[in-house]
């Protein structure tokens, strides 16, 4: 079930909400980031038939790519009412990401939004390699 494979911890930030993410590869890290965003915002995402949604995002560097990627997924929910149930990263570089999101239409009765996120911010943004994979820190404005 989507969401089960996400791996993030909350960071304490007085005004907002920060998370630390990890992943063995850069693809995993970005996939994990996208699914974590959905997990934070929505209480439930029961399995349902999905439709593919292709996203292509470019950034100036990895931190910028991360903020823009999360911004795209947030807009998909807020602007187009689409919930990402699962994510495949098709290709990724330091400045470019191509992904297929498996989405379902947002239904407030089913998905129960629990946290309103205004945006992923650049404040203390970090995407960096670790000894055995990748780590990112993202602070969201609530």
């Amino acid at each position: 079930m989507p969401g089960k494979q996400t791996c993030f911890t909350f960071l304490d930030h007085t005004a907002d909400l920060g998370i630390r993410l990890t992943g063995p590869t850069l693809e995993d890290l970005f996939r994990n980031a996208g699914l974590s965003l959905m997990e934070i915002m929505l209480d439930k995402r029961p399995a349902a038939k999905t439709s593919p949604h292709h996203l292509s995002v470019s950034g100036d560097d990895l931190p910028d790519l991360m903020v823009r990627w999360l911004g795209e997924i947030l807009y998909l929910l807020e602007g187009e009412n689409k919930v990402a149930m699962d994510i495949e990263i098709n290709a990724i570089s330091e400045t470019q990401l191509d992904a297929t999101l498996h989405t379902v239409p947002f239904d407030p009765r089913i998905h129960q939004m629990v946290t309103e996120i205004k945006a992923a911010t650049y404040h203390q943004i970090e995407v960096a390699p670790t000894g055995n994979g990748w780590q990112a820190t993202v602070i969201f404005d609530l």
């Binding site: 909350f10 304490d12 930030h13 007085t14 005004a15 907002d16 909400l17 915002m41 209480d43 100036d60 560097d61 931190p63 910028d64 903020v67 823009r68 911004g71 807009y75 929910l77 807020e78 602007g79 187009e80 947002f106 407030p108 129960q112 939004m113 629990v114 946290t115 309103e116 205004k118 945006a119 911010t121 650049y122 404040h123 203390q124 943004i125 602070i139 404005d141 609530l142």
Partner: protein
């Protein structure tokens, strides 16, 4: 970098100008508040803002300062128009988040027996909660009109009266709004969120005036002890969030490419020279969101009034609802201030700070020329809110600004952890406060212990002569997202 602090007096602390800071920092706080301010990184953020080009005077922080992203929440900074910058992060994602207070002819004890019904009726009527959509669906041309006309658009549609506009900062419409600069995404996100409260710390509260500090100003504000009032706190919803996000990304990209002639200490402080076309477009878009927020609060006020009339089965003249004032606390504005002894136009950023014009200021409407501008300071849902009036010290010390609220001391995750196993709504009900909320964790995140004591915050504001206390409001019923 450790930020050094020098205590000036009982309510002011100086952050000396060091390194790449262009001006010193100044924090309004007493010893007790400073102890909690030192716990997070907000003082570093005050110092970071002081490095931005064209900043004049001090990088300021109000007593409710807490750690934000880029700018601290509770930050005030003014920039020269020629050499200075405008920063979307210095305004915030929720452009023109603000407060509006309504007085009534009713006594709070008259409506107390029906408080549960009133709160439940409000909760049914007002779209609340995360991603809430309203019953209004705006056509593109109507959305453009809202963006330019602000609260007046709502009044023309029958939400309230023209008299309300005089009692709204900027008459509910900021000049310079230009919808042609907006992204399709901003328009899309704004389409169905007008007339919604949102979530987090946004609320509508029914209150009782339980203390009057300045009887003369209170009389002119139509406030009396024991009176029932209601208070609205919300902003520009997804429309404003998207506008901030769009421009931060555009400005950040230019900074990354080295297209701006200065270094940024934090990417979230991305900004543009005020003389640039990018700054002009941001300010035009920001004004659209500010106007949307004023229309939003105007509509919510009208629906709240209708709910009162229906639930209490009374006529409008019995309710006697009167808008006291509507004021924003996330905004950037070009204003005239004294800089090095000379009247100078500057761009004042207020990020979690409220304008507080003193008596006699030319921008004040006639009705408040003698009292000073009403300043509305919400507390947390278990404690008081305050009505203040701008004082002369605000022009000398804080570019006409005051605090905006209590300010958090616990992060949301800490608050939820500490509130585990507690029924916050029952605890509040025991204190005589009826609360309805939509979100699963909202009440825990927003519990009184998560915030500083608002009375300490307003006492510092008064001691620093930024504003004077007029009255205190006690919560009776609250709806939250």
């Amino acid at each position: 970098m450790d930020v050094s602090l020098e205590k000036i007096d009982d309510c002011r602390w100086l952050i000396p100008q060091t390194g790449v800071m262009r001006v010193p920092g100044m924090v309004f706080a007493n010893d007790e508040l400073m102890r909690s301010i030192r716990q997070d990184q907000s003082l570093q953020q005050v110092a970071n803002v002081a490095t931005l080009p064209g900043i004049v005077g001090y990088s300021l922080a109000m007593p409710d300062i807490h750690w934000g992203y880029g700018f601290p929440i509770g930050g005030v900074a003014a920039f020269e128009l020629d050499e200075g910058i405008v920063s979307p992060g210095g305004v915030g994602y929720d452009i023109n988040c603000g407060c509006r207070l309504m007085t009534t002819r009713l006594r709070a004890d008259e409506i107390q027996p029906q408080m549960k019904e009133l709160v439940a009726a409000l909760f049914r009527r007002i779209p609340t909660g995360v991603g809430s959509r309203g019953p209004l669906r705006l056509s593109r041309s109507d959305q453009d009109r809202v963006a330019v006309m602000g609260a007046e658009w709502a009044v023309k549609r029958g939400f309230g009266t023209p008299r309300d506009l005089e009692r709204t900062e900027d008459h509910g419409a900021m000049e310079g709004a230009d919808p042609s600069v907006l992204s399709e995404r901003a328009i899309q996100r704004g389409r169905d969120q007008l007339g919604t409260l949102g979530s987090g710390n946004h609320f509508i509260e029914i209150q009782a005036v339980d203390a009057v500090y300045d009887p003369e100003k209170a009389r002119q504000f139509h406030l009396f002890e024991g009176q029932a009032t209601f208070f609205i706190h919300t902003g520009s919803r997804g429309f404003g969030h998207q506008i901030c996000d769009d421009f931060l990304k555009e400005m950040g990209r230019r900074a990354f490419k080295g297209e701006i002639p200065f270094e940024l200490p934090d990417r979230q402080l991305a900004c543009a020279l005020l003389s640039s076309d990018l700054a002009r477009r941001y300010l035009a878009a920001m004004a659209c969101a500010a106007n949307y927020a004023w229309a939003n609060r105007q509509i919510l006020m009208h629906w709240t009034m209708e709910t009162f009339l229906k639930t209490l089965s009374i006529r409008p003249e019995e309710l006697g609802m009167n808008l006291l004032y509507d004021v924003c606390h996330n905004i950037a504005k070009k204003e005239m201030h004294q800089v090095s002894g000379e009247g100078t136009m500057v761009c004042v950023h207020r990020k979690g700070a409220t304008r507080a014009l003193p008596p006699g200021h030319p921008l004040l409407p006639e009705i408040y020329r003698a009292t000073g501008q009403p300043v509305l300071i919400p507390g947390d849902m278990g404690t008081h809110s305050y009505v203040l009036a701008g004082a002369a010290g605000s022009m000398e010390r804080s570019f006409g600004s005051s605090c905006h609220g209590a300010g958090r001391i616990l992060s949301r995750t800490q608050a939820v952890k500490q509130a585990k196993g507690r029924a916050i709504n029952r605890e509040l009900e025991d204190k005589g406060i009826i609360v309805h909320s939509r979100g699963k964790h909202t009440l825990k995140e927003e519990m009184p212990e998560a915030y500083k004591d608002v009375s300490l915050v307003v006492d510092v504001v008064e001691a620093a002569k930024l504003a004077v206390k007029v009255a205190r409001l006690r919560p009776l019923g609250v709806i939250k997202g």
